[in-house]
């Protein structure tokens, strides 16, 4: 493993920010920047979508990501593919081990049925939020909307599939302080919601916060963990380099 190449160093930090529990966030991560997302208290879920900042109709594609790497979940060594055969970001380090790709997000009816009503009028900023509306809200800031809300990642959550196709949520997947490093290979709009995973069995509304820290990535070497992960990733890196090829 050559993950040391892209290690966090305080002198390289560009910015940092906390995303509170149940909140939604968006930002642009440039090619060459790494974003560390940390599960502050343990048990967090961060639903995430990725769009090409220059042309948002190019976006993270669940199926291409899974097919290209013959996996149903993401961890270190994996990358997130766009629908155009390019690498949007690489998972250069991961202390959690499993990030869900197949379960999508909760909606308002799910949250109301599970946790009851808690509107802004009565609860102010402790009102109950859901993944779908949170992501639609954030996408709207860029002229995007429901049409653009494709299959999400669910960072820090684990759901396994048995031999008959049955899906099981695995509690306790992510400890306090667990983090995942995403090295961006394209200029990318990142949209996040820290609402609970839709299969989280907790009876109470209890989303968790995440911390974000962005830093200047180390150059991607020819022996890079993610690039060398499989021949598909190597070809997707070549496609990505062509997008940014310039004099």
């Amino acid at each position: 493993m050559t993950e040391a190449a892209n290690n966090f160093r305080p002198e390289l930090v560009l910015w940092q920010e906390n995303v509170p529990a149940g909140a939604h966030w968006s930002g642009v991560l440039r090619r060459g920047v790494t974003l560390r997302i940390t599960d502050v208290n343990g048990g967090a879920n961060a639903a995430m979508l990725l769009y090409n900042w220059e042309n948002p109709v190019e976006r993270y594609n669940m199926a291409d990501t899974l097919k290209g790497q013959h996996t149903a979940f993401l961890t270190a060594g994996n990358v997130c593919y766009s629908d155009m055969g390019r690498v949007m970001c690489s998972v250069t380090q991961d202390t959690c081990g499993w990030h869900d790709t197949i379960c999508g997000v909760s909606n308002a009816a799910d949250v109301r049925a599970r946790y009851g009503e808690a509107d802004y009028q009565a609860y102010q900023n402790d009102y109950y939020r859901n993944g779908f509306d949170s992501l639609v809200n954030e996408l709207g800031k860029y002229g995007l909307g429901k049409r653009d809300l494709v299959s999400t990642l669910n960072l820090f959550s684990k759901v396994t599939v048995d031999d008959n196709g049955g899906m099981q949520y695995v509690p306790g997947n992510s400890d306090a302080g667990a983090f995942v490093d995403l090295r961006f290979e394209m200029d990318t709009l990142v949209v996040l919601s820290t609402c609970q995973h839709p299969l989280d069995p907790a009876e109470a509304y209890q989303p968790r916060p995440v911390d974000l820290v962005a830093w200047k990535s180390a150059p991607v070497g020819k022996d890079d963990l993610c690039r060398r992960h499989c021949p598909e990733n190597e070809r997707a890196f070549i496609n990505t380099e062509r997008l940014y090829a310039s004099l």
Partner: protein
């Protein structure tokens, strides 16, 4: 979820609509609430990439993740309710003589072919090109933004308990079919898959037939 095969009681002669869709061709059609829609695998092992939109509001569309999560199983078969992005039932699978259909493997594209097989495979025909051309001919404002995670009828994409995703030989055969009852007025968008690089069509893409019965 069991893989019991459920046959239909409907008579093909009573269908009000029948059309053969050759491999490599798209198909876009409106299905009214209550109508029953069948996809028939004429020659066997043919992947049929399919998306559904609410005819009344196309921003509401089939959602693969909601569908598998709410039934607690990644495979689609008889009894599966296809849920929308708003969480509403769009169609219900009412008969299935194949037993298992995929919704994680997505649709092939020129660009994904470069990644999966070789950079020079870009110029082979692919499902997402068929989808784009069908939407370009259909003047209702749908475009690439509307291509979300689709269903692959008759395709077999198992996930192992360790989380490995594999493409296995098809479980379909000539004459097998899947039948769905519309729970709302929907548009169905199909690409009869032209993929030649993997076993999803048995390396030999073949025609399928679509049939519709009135309620």
């Amino acid at each position: 979820m069991s893989q019991t095969l459920i046959e239909s009681k409907l008579d093909q002669a009573a269908a009000t609509f029948r059309q053969v869709v050759p491999a490599g061709e798209p198909f876009l059609h409106r299905i009214e609430r209550g109508q029953v829609f069948r996809i028939l695998d004429l020659e066997g092992n043919q992947a049929v990439d399919t998306l559904f939109y609410s005819a009344g509001d196309t921003e509401e569309r089939y959602d693969a993740n909601n569908t598998i999560r709410e039934q607690g199983n990644i495979y689609l078969t008889t009894g599966t309710r296809l849920l929308s992005n708003e969480g509403n039932p769009m169609l219900t699978i009412v008969a299935d003589t194949c037993g298992r259909h995929d919704t994680l493997g997505g649709a092939c594209s020129a660009e994904s072919n470069t990644v999966r097989y070789a950079l020079d495979k870009r110029h082979m025909h692919a499902c997402r090109d068929s989808f784009l051309m069908a939407l370009a001919d259909y003047d209702h404002g749908l475009s690439k933004r509307d291509l979300s995670s689709n269903i692959n009828f008759f395709m077999n994409v198992p996930v192992t308990p360790e989380g490995k995703l594999t493409f296995e030989d098809g479980v379909s055969a000539a004459g097998r079919y899947v039948e769905l009852r519309a729970e709302m007025d929907v548009l169905v968008l199909i690409s009869n898959c032209p993929q030649l690089n993997n076993p999803c069509n048995g390396y030999n893409p073949t025609p399928v037939e679509v049939l519709i019965w009135n309620a």
